[in-house]
């Protein structure tokens, strides 16, 4: 009886979790491709929406997809490296200003970068005049901008994890004549893979869905990311007509996330409890 109750509750939650996804799938294979004609249970099945998505002149979906995956992969790799290096210094070395630096990071990470969106917009207006290659409408500029948040977000987490890795390991390496760089690359990095996997996954998911800065930053259709581009796809009076295409795009967007998820899966459960939230 009690077991039945448990199953009932879990099933209810599964329905809650799956209904919107079912709706997306149904919309994506809906031959009519409009919001109004989409039901929870699909009337027919066709891949027309997927075909439209890639053959459409107004919405360069494939380009957006590449932009997003490139930015998300590059930014999460680079930010992992930057914050891992900082965490290594904070955890293993003693230097003047260490305490102050740690406290400053704690303070800074409380301020989400996009709160300064107004001035970031003003700063990059100037940068665009001077260096168009890293200004508005470029993936490189956005990448740099995301790296600005790298140190604040993950350093504490990684330092905490690194503190649990026995110091004797790198001391042994030092005795064997390893330099600090060799210790970092050959000893520390392999040991912290679980936390790297988790923060990497979270950073990847966060950047794939980042909307506010990208929407201010990217206005040229060719340079948009999926979040900005697909938002425009169902903006205004396009909302009803393009819904099938949008749903198809949503399913395709989930592929890289699921891919990264599967790739890093074995580390996830041990690392997740170390904490962070979905963006």
């Amino acid at each position: 009886m009690k077991l039945a109750l448990r199953h009932g509750f879990v099933l209810l939650m599964c329905v809650f979790a799956l209904v919107p996804i079912l709706f997306v799938v149904s919309a994506a294979i809906n031959p009519l491709g409009t919001l109004a004609s989409t039901d929870l249970v699909p009337h027919g099945a066709s891949l027309g929406n997927f075909a439209d998505l890639f053959s459409n002149d107004r919405y360069p979906f494939a380009r957006w997809f590449l932009n997003s995956v490139f930015i998300a992969l590059a930014a999460s790799f680079a930010s992992l490296l930057l914050s891992m290096m900082a965490a290594y210094a904070f955890s293993r070395m003693r230097f003047r200003g260490r305490r102050v630096g740690l406290l400053a990071l704690l303070l800074i990470q409380m301020f989400p970068q996009f709160l300064a969106i107004v001035t970031i917009f003003m700063i990059f207006t100037r940068v665009t005049e001077l260096y168009p290659a890293i200004g508005f409408d470029t993936v490189w500029g956005l990448l740099l901008l995301y790296l600005g948040g790298a140190l604040g977000a993950n350093t504490w987490l990684m330092k905490g994890f690194l503190d649990t890795v026995p110091k004797e390991l790198d001391e042994a390496a030092t005795v064997d004549g390893a330099t600090h760089a060799q210790i970092f690359w050959r000893v520390i990095l392999p040991l912290v893979t679980p936390i790297l996997a988790v923060t990497g996954l979270l950073a990847f998911i966060g950047i794939m869905s980042e909307f506010i800065m990208a929407s201010v930053f990217l206005r040229d259709p060719e340079s948009k990311t999926l979040a900005v581009g697909m938002f425009g796809m169902i903006a205004g009076d396009q909302r009803n007509a393009n819904f099938g295409m949008f749903a198809a795009g949503t399913l395709i967007t989930a592929i890289p996330t699921v891919g990264v998820f599967l790739w890093l899966q074995k580390f996830i459960v041990s690392g997740l409890t170390a904490g962070a939230v979905k963006g």
Binding site: R94, F114, I212
Partner: protein, 522 residues
């Protein structure tokens, strides 16, 4: 600190061991030098062209600093800290400081440039056709590739060439019956389609004259205009229509005796004006408190709700005789794998009144996002859907770390399951998950996407179209800065500073309570 200094002294003592010069060593040094040089080569020329000598000096110093830092064997910690710190300073600390300083100005639409720019914008914007001035027949032409106007006076038939430098007489030009110049020595006359292609350039060209400027009116007429408003440095005012307009340095506007101001102003320092406006202006302060209150409710409901839901599911599955947990788990995690921005938009359309799934399923006709109560419930529900899988994952992990003997011991001692959960399981879970709950709260406090992509802050009451029922502080700020009602960057920055302060206070209180950070210093 004393401990740190001591440790540092330790490493300095004794002879530094000689190290071999390996290939990796040489390659890495060369790479660093190359990067520093490339940085300098790429970044310097635009700064030189622009004459930004301060920035140029900073850039050279930075490149030299990087080269030195990675070539020397000293300053090992800095080698690891500098890359991240540079990004942090440039794209987070500097913008935040800049935000704080912008909050003290009236920067925004109508106050973008300095006073000189405002004066010239006012003067050129007020140009009208001077009474009694001739209407010239205009022919666009090129002289050495530069666009010039060939102007024929309708009465005297005299031909003049007008460029950005002024008017000059032209001799030997052949004028057609329509008054257009057919050809002139030294000029290439543009044909109609060629002129049309340069329409923007033509409408921009202003030929200065003694009393005003000659501007094109279409492609074949040009008129002499005079500025209706003229700046007079002696009285620091603008004379003309409706004036005199006196410069008001406190507000950054030209104001006349009736208290009206010209649309174009300039950027001035307004001190704490923006901050007092948030607190004292009744049309803002009332809503500000309302928005803040809803913001708190939203963040608490999101963080708490996702935790309770996620934990409930995890507990339900956490039973030795529970079957099919693997399949359940995959189904429950799926929302987490979907791109959240797209799913937010999907939820928005599911709540749509006319075609939305919710109304279809339940046979209702409710405008879910159109009424403040249902809209608020809707955005929280959507956020629960997005957030509970994560909490489920995390609690599952934490539950497995709690030894089963503890709960079994409690039940043997006669505790009811509920009592055992409350006194044993929950406290242990909270120890592990409190830092996560705090960061989830802080994240949702500024959860821009969850609002902007679903309700966009709406519904907006008729009496205050600026502030919607589901607006968070951050979406409200975003609309102030980039919204349709004209950009108010200064004011938006002031609200950002308020949010900074609120987030800092809330986080400080939360961290004091957990005291987590202290043990990490060790």
């Amino acid at each position: 600190m004393a401990h740190d200094a001591h440790a540092a002294a330790d490493t300095r003592r004794g002879p530094r061991p000689r190290r071999e010069v390996t290939t990796a060593f040489v390659v890495s040094r060369v790479a660093v030098l190359a990067v520093a040089a490339a940085l300098l080569l790429y970044a310097a020329p635009p700064l030189v062209a622009d004459g930004s000598w301060v920035s140029l000096t900073l850039l050279c110093a930075a490149s030299a600093g990087i080269a030195y830092l990675y070539l020397t064997r000293r300053f090992v910690p800095a080698k690891y800290l500098i890359p991240g710190t540079v990004c942090l300073l440039a794209f987070q600390v500097f913008p935040v400081l800049y935000t704080v300083s912008t909050a003290f100005t009236n920067f925004g639409d109508g106050h973008r440039g300095d006073k000189q720019a405002a004066v010239s914008a006012i003067e050129t914007g007020s140009v009208r056709q001077a009474p009694g001035s001739p209407e010239y027949a205009l022919t666009a032409a090129l002289r050495d590739g530069e666009l010039v106007f060939l102007l024929v006076d309708p009465k005297t038939k005299q031909v003049q060439a007008g460029s950005g430098q002024g008017l000059a007489p032209v001799t030997g030009a052949q004028v057609g019956v329509t008054g257009k110049v057919l050809r002139a020595p030294g000029f290439t006359v543009l044909k109609a389609p060629e002129a049309a292609a340069r329409g923007q350039e033509i409408s921009k060209l202003a030929v200065p004259t003694s009393g005003g400027v000659i501007k094109a009116n279409g492609l074949s007429r040009a008129v002499e205009g005079r500025a209706a408003l003229v700046y007079d440095a002696a009285c620091d005012c603008v004379n003309g229509e409706g004036g005199p307009w006196k410069a008001d340095e406190a507000r950054g506007y030209f104001v006349n005796a009736r208290g009206d101001h010209l649309a174009q102003g300039w950027q001035v320092n307004v001190g704490f004006g923006n901050f007092t406006r948030v607190l004292t202006d009744p049309t803002i302060s009332g809503y500000f408190l309302g928005v803040f209150g809803w913001n708190l409710v939203f963040a608490l409901a999101s963080a708490g709700g996702t935790f309770v839901l996620g934990m409930a599911v995890a507990l339900a599955l956490h039973h030795p005789r529970m079957r099919g947990t693997k399949i359940y788990r995959i189904a429950l995690i799926l929302p987490y794998a979907m791109p959240s921005f797209a799913m937010l938009l999907v939820w928005r359309d599911m709540f749509n009144r006319d075609f939305g799934l919710i109304n279809q399923l339940f046979g209702t006709n409710v405008d879910w996002l159109g009424q403040s109560g249902t809209a608020r419930a809707a955005v929280i529900l959507v956020n629960l859907w997005l957030g509970f899988p994560y909490m489920f994952l995390v609690t599952t992990g934490a539950l497995q770390a709690i030894p089963r003997e503890l709960t079994e011991a409690a039940s043997i001692d006669g505790a009811s399951p509920w009592y055992g959960f409350r006194k044993v399981t929950l406290p242990l879970l909270l120890v592990a998950l409190t830092p996560l709950l705090i960061s989830s709260f802080a994240f949702n406090f500024n959860n821009f996407n969850a609002i902007q992509l679903t309700s966009e802050g709406g519904p907006f009451p008729a009496e205050s179209p600026q502030v919607g029922a589901t607006d968070l502080l951050i979406t409200y700020t975003f609309r102030l800065a980039f919204g349709a009602g004209g950009a108010q960057f200064g004011f938006a920055a002031a609200i950002s500073v308020f949010i900074f302060a609120l987030v800092a206070v809330i986080s400080a209180v939360a961290f004091r309570r957990t005291r987590k950070q202290e043990e990490v210093y060790a």
